[in-house]
């Protein structure tokens, strides 16, 4: 096997060699940076907490072993073997499968639009963290300065800063409102930073990735050390990791574990294919796949420990303040000396007063303060980062420093994922030769970034955050699952399992074993199909709606549930199906083109029929 000549690589266009990584570390860091993103920080800890703590790790590891790692290995293998971006790879495997590449390209485009909008929000918070006191710490006074702003008083300073001062969110998705210039500036800066880093493809991202991939680990370690020394951290951690095995009977847990692994590894974007295409042809992609996937999962665990120690501190601090408020009410009502009732004595003092003057005690607006209730207040996604964590940071001594570190970490986590998204767009474009040779790569990436910036400016409207949720839920999720299914089926059944195993043996020196073949042939496609069906069922079971922030709502600050208007539903449907539509469209187009060619030039004597022309 070692002496056999390798399969001929696809011919390079023009006279230029394909760019290559400076060293293996750049490639590994790029893959890790693409896989490790915001979801590791704000989705995994939430899932862990909601689904019975340590017990969630069981479906998670199973999904990793039977779905995540096999799919990841396939992507790296075909990218490295065929040395093309996503569109080129699928066209090379079979012309009928070109639609898969186009679908991946479209999904990458849609995702990079809203992902960078999230990074613009993070940048806004980062810029506002360089002051003391932090602007989300206190409510601003209202116009005649007799009290605080009503909206802020009813909700909380942190929510007010997020919904009003940052998003300036409207009460309804149809009410678009004007573009918010602050967010537009941050979005422009965000795209400028992305352009600076991807300007020359992997030549520049390879240098930038050293910082953006490693900085988050540094900050996570700092937060971990700080978090573990804060009071209440241990309660948070025990609450997070206490396993509740009963929860495994709920099928929802398995679905969420599978989707989490899938999205966490950033599969089916085409980014890993693009990264692997710049590798040396003989590189052990199996080892890379396993190590990157494991690093991704370890990072999720590490991040959740750091996050939950801080959240445990926040819960303990909130609980203490709840007790303090109750104690103040008691002291004020019964004119007891200041600080005569400590937090530990509160229950005893309340019992004493209740025994002697129950009527007066009943008239007081005392809150119920239970630590479990505060620990239960979990959040995921933007809620965790911009509301819960920012509030936790307020209570830590030296708050601006921690805020800067936290948002800096979020920004570099997101930026390294953006590199993968942009690479999955620019690499196919460069391979296809969309621009003439004379036009330098800088111009192509510049044009791509400009186009994306102009399109994503719609997320800076007042209703932008509602649209972002739509994009996140409908544009990304379903399409990625379907495209991954087509990927596995296309590679295993159309490219051929034998050819794949031969290629991998040539590249890594060892044929894939039984585990790989079984998962590729049977387990992963079945799992993906099940996930797709379950996901569709889940989306269909609840009528699509959104939660609006409406100060006029009678149950404000609860968010008002509203259904989507008709035209928004049409947009959702379009986003859900358009990227995957490329697959049948291209296959059909290729079929028609072949038919037309066959009817125009019928094959002469004895010449073997070209492959795939069994129809017509």
């Amino acid at each position: 096997m070692a002496g056999a000549p390798g399969p001929a690589p696809p011919a390079e266009g023009g006279g230029e060699a394909r760019p290559a990584w400076d060293n293996k570390l750049q490639y590994l860091l790029s893959c890790v940076g693409f896989a490790v993103g915001l979801g590791n920080l704000w989705r995994f800890p939430y899932l862990c907490q909601t689904y019975g703590g340590g017990a969630f790790l069981i479906p998670y590891v199973i999904a990793l072993a039977f779905e995540g790692i096999p799919l990841f290995h396939i992507e790296l293998a075909i990218g490295q073997r065929l040395r093309r971006g996503s569109i080129g790879v699928w066209t090379a495997i079979s012309p009928y499968l070109g639609g898969v590449g186009l679908g991946c390209f479209t999904v990458s485009f849609l995702v990079s639009l809203y992902y960078n909008a999230i990074l613009a929000w993070v940048l806004w918070y980062l810029l506002n963290s360089f002051q003391h006191p932090l602007p989300w710490g206190a409510c601003p006074p209202d116009l005649n300065r007799t009290g605080l702003v009503q909206e802020c008083r009813d909700s909380s300073p942190v929510s007010y800063f997020w919904y009003r001062r940052t998003l300036n969110v409207s009460a309804d998705i149809s009410d678009s409102g004007p573009l918010q210039w602050r967010l537009l500036l941050c979005l422009a800066a965000s795209w400028a930073v992305v352009y600076l880093c991807v300007i020359r493809g992997i030549e520049t991202t390879g240098k930038a990735i050293y910082f953006t991939a490693l900085f988050p680990y540094l900050v996570l370690t700092v937060f971990l050390v700080r978090g573990l020394t804060l009071p209440g951290a241990m309660e948070g951690l025990t609450y997070l990791f206490t396993p509740d095995m009963q929860v495994l009977q709920n099928p929802r847990v398995w679905l969420d574990a599978a989707t989490q692994i899938f999205f966490s590894l950033s599969l089916a974007f085409g980014g890993h294919i693009a990264f692997a295409s710049y590798n040396q042809p003989r590189n052990n992609c199996r080892r890379d796949a396993v190590s990157v996937a494991l690093v991704n999962s370890m990072t999720s665990l590490y991040a959740s420990i750091a996050v939950f120690s801080v959240l445990g501190f926040k819960a303990a601090s909130d609980h203490g303040q709840c007790l303090d408020r109750n104690i103040l009410r008691l002291i004020n009502a019964f004119d007891l000396p200041e600080q005569s009732v400590s937090r530990d004595d509160y229950a005893a003092a309340l019992a004493r007063l209740n025994a002697s003057q129950p009527a007066r005690v009943a008239g007081l607006p005392l809150e119920v303060c239970r630590l479990e209730d505060f620990l239960d207040k979990s959040a995921s996604g933007t809620g965790l980062a911009f509301i819960v964590f920012t509030e936790a940071v307020l209570h830590m001594p030296g708050a601006p420093v921690w805020a800067v570190l936290f948002f800096g970490m979020l920004y570099s986590l997101g930026l390294s994922s953006m590199f993968g998204n942009m690479e999955s767009m620019t690499t196919p474009l460069l391979d296809l030769g969309v621009m003439p040779r004379r036009v330098p790569k800088e111009a192509l990436t510049g044009l791509a970034c400009l186009l994306c910036f102009l399109t994503s400016s719609c997320f800076t409207l007042r209703s932008g955050s509602y649209w972002l949720e739509i994009f996140d839920q409908y544009a990304a999720a379903l399409n990625l699952i379907l495209l991954a299914f087509f990927e596995v089926v296309g590679v295993v059944y159309i490219y051929g399992m034998k050819r794949l195993c031969d290629d991998i043996a040539w590249m890594t020196g060892r044929r894939p074993g039984f585990y790989w073949r079984v998962t590729w042939k049977v387990v992963s496609p079945l799992l993906l199909l099940t996930i797709f069906v379950a996901y569709v069922a889940l989306l269909a079971s609840s009528p699509p709606g959104y939660k609006a922030w409406n100060p006029q709502y009678e149950r404000f600050p609860s968010r008002q549930e509203k259904p989507y208007p008709g035209w928004v539903l049409a947009a959702c449907a379009l986003l859900s199906f358009l990227p995957t539509l490329w697959v049948p469209v291209v296959a059909l187009g290729q079929l028609l083109a072949r038919c037309r060619e066959k009817t125009r030039n019928p094959p002469q004597d004895g010449r073997p029929k070209p492959q795939g022309s069994r129809a017509c």
Binding site: P5, G6, A8, P9, E12, G15, E16, A17, P19, A20, W21, D22, N23, K24, W124, L127, N128, F130, Q131, P140, P141, R145, T146, G147, L148, L185, C186, A189, A192, V193, Y195, L196, I199, R200, G201, E203, T204, Q280, P281, R282, I331, N332, D335, L336, P337, E338, Q339, P440, E442
Partner: protein, 242 residues
């Protein structure tokens, strides 16, 4: 007789200052919360100071410049440190309207707070809302300054990269000459990261013939201080002139 009058007067005065009396205000202090270890005890001297501050505030109101400390009555002092107070007119029979007292206190709230080392939250006048200080916004918000700094750095770096790209592009154009392509071959290899086993692959050798590796063009020999071997005949001299 005198004793009777005295008792009458104190009774009237006691009637004027009662919890929930007309024009009476409740005050609540949280000294230990504000000052911690440096907290002072609330005694009659502090009460005297309080009466003085209230009288001072009332003297600033037009038509009330003759308010004396004795016109301010305190009652129901508790261990919480809370009490009620009223301000009477010079005849000591009526209390001053609550609106006047409220506006007077509001205008001098800062002085009263400072006299006791407290603030609006720890020295509460129930029913008298505090006036918030105007928000101290700097003329240019801080986030714009930092945004400007970051954006300028990014723009400058992008310009530098684009300019260096243009410069390399021009140098590559000079280099595209088949003779120099093979001669500078060896100089290209240090940019690549290949193991010795890969040099034997035939396909890799075919990829070696290009002058650009990793987008880094190979510098022409003369700029690297190398020597061009004049023994080789250059293109134009091959053809013998007629």
């Amino acid at each position: 007789m005198l004793w009777l009058l005295f008792f009458l007067v104190t009774a009237i005065r006691a009637d004027l200052c009662q919890p929930d009396a007309e024009n009476a205000f409740k005050v609540r202090l949280s000294i230990r919360t504000a000052l911690g270890d440096k907290a002072y005890a609330w005694d009659r001297n502090e009460e005297y100071l309080f009466k003085a501050m209230v009288a001072f505030s009332m003297r600033k109101v037009p038509n009330r410049e003759t308010t004396e400390i004795s016109h301010v009555l305190l009652c129901n002092v508790t261990q919480r440190v809370s009490f009620w107070f009223v301000v009477t007119d010079p005849s000591r029979n009526h209390t001053l309207p609550a609106v006047e007292v409220q506006s007077a206190i509001r205008m001098n709230r800062n002085r009263i707070n400072n006299a006791f080392f407290l603030n609006d939250q720890t020295l509460e006048f129930l029913r008298i809302p505090p006036t918030f200080a105007p928000p101290t916004d700097p003329s240019v918000p801080i986030w714009i300054i930092i945004f400007g700094v970051i954006f300028c750095i990014v723009l400058v770096a992008t310009m530098l990269l684009i300019l260096s790209g243009i410069r390399q592009h021009r140098r590559v154009k000079i280099l595209h000459c088949p003779f120099q392509a093979s001669a500078v071959n060896n100089q290209c290899h240090f940019g690549k990261n290949k193991g010795p086993s890969e040099m034997e692959d035939t396909e890799d050798k075919c990829e070696n013939v290009i002058t650009i590796e990793n987008g880094i063009p190979c510098d022409p020999l003369d700029m690297k201080g190398g020597h061009i071997n004049d023994a080789f005949v250059t293109e134009d001299e091959r053809l013998t002139p007629l």
